[in-house]
């Protein structure tokens, strides 16, 4: 692919790349760096881009690698923050009766494919992830977006497996509540 064509595509993709990097890294400086490195790497390897996959998919793939590098470099800082946050994880008591039953019945979420075809749904998903506490969001994104194994996350962030599972579980339940309230219970999700 020509560098001038690619640079126009990259320009157009930059807001998306930054949004994803911020969502994963929760640090604007790191996110800027990861995106700049991604654009540089893409331009440098423009000749090898076969063009049989979408530019967006290809560039997001590069971004994921750059984010992993950034997480490693920022590792110690993230790890200390993660430990502090894991020590004060919030309670899920408001979701359950003392006997362990859910207080509210979950809604029917309808046809998954229909939901996944709506771009507005992904806007809601993003804002729900943004609303998670920083490290809970980071751990969740590492697991579900970067597709790390749980033991890799523990190792990278220096948290115990138990804390890791607890944070992932809380993130999933919070996200479930948030999606239900802000999408499935509204007109848009109906």
């Amino acid at each position: 692919m020509q560098a001038d064509v690619l640079s126009r595509s990259l320009e157009a993709l930059r807001p998306l790349l930054l949004k994803m990097a911020r969502l994963q890294l929760r640090n604007d400086g790191w996110a800027e760096d990861a995106v700049s490195e991604t654009m540089l790497a893409a331009l440098e390897s423009a000749a090898s881009f076969a063009g049989n996959s979408q530019v967006k998919t290809w560039v997001i793939g590069i971004l994921k690698h750059k984010i992993v590098d950034q997480l490693r470099r920022g590792g110690r800082e993230v790890s200390v923050e993660a430990q502090m946050e894991a020590a004060g994880v919030d309670s899920l008591d408001e979701l359950y009766e003392p006997g362990g039953h859910r207080l509210a019945a979950p809604l029917d979420w309808g046809d998954p494919e229909a939901t996944l075809s709506r771009s507005q749904f992904f806007d809601v998903l993003q804002s729900c992830i943004e609303n998670l506490p920083a490290n809970m969001g980071r751990v969740f994104m590492m697991r579900e977006w970067l597709e790390y194994e749980t033991d890799q996350i523990c190792k990278e962030l220096g948290i115990t497996p138990t804390n890791c599972f607890v944070m992932l579980h809380r993130a999933r339940l919070r996200l479930r509540e948030c999606l239900e309230m802000n999408w499935f219970a509204t007109e848009r999700g109906a």
Partner: protein, 62 residues
């Protein structure tokens, strides 16, 4: 129903549903969760929602 070795509360079932997404469950937990999901329609719904969230996350950002 009273909770015991085999019969678990929804709260525990949700923990197992989540844990199962990160590592294989031990046989006892698999049994308890399997049984719970067959007698609790609300938790079976949450199981489908958890799967859906994973699919959505894999598509986030294109």
């Amino acid at each position: 129903m009273k909770h015991g070795w085999l019969v678990i509360a929804c709260r525990h079932a949700h923990e197992l549903l989540s844990q199962r997404m990160d590592q294989p469950l031990h046989t006892g937990d698999r049994l308890r969760l399997w049984l719970h999901l067959r007698i609790c329609a609300a938790c079976a719904k949450i199981e489908r929602q958890m799967d859906f969230m994973r699919r959505a996350m894999r598509r986030l950002g294109g």
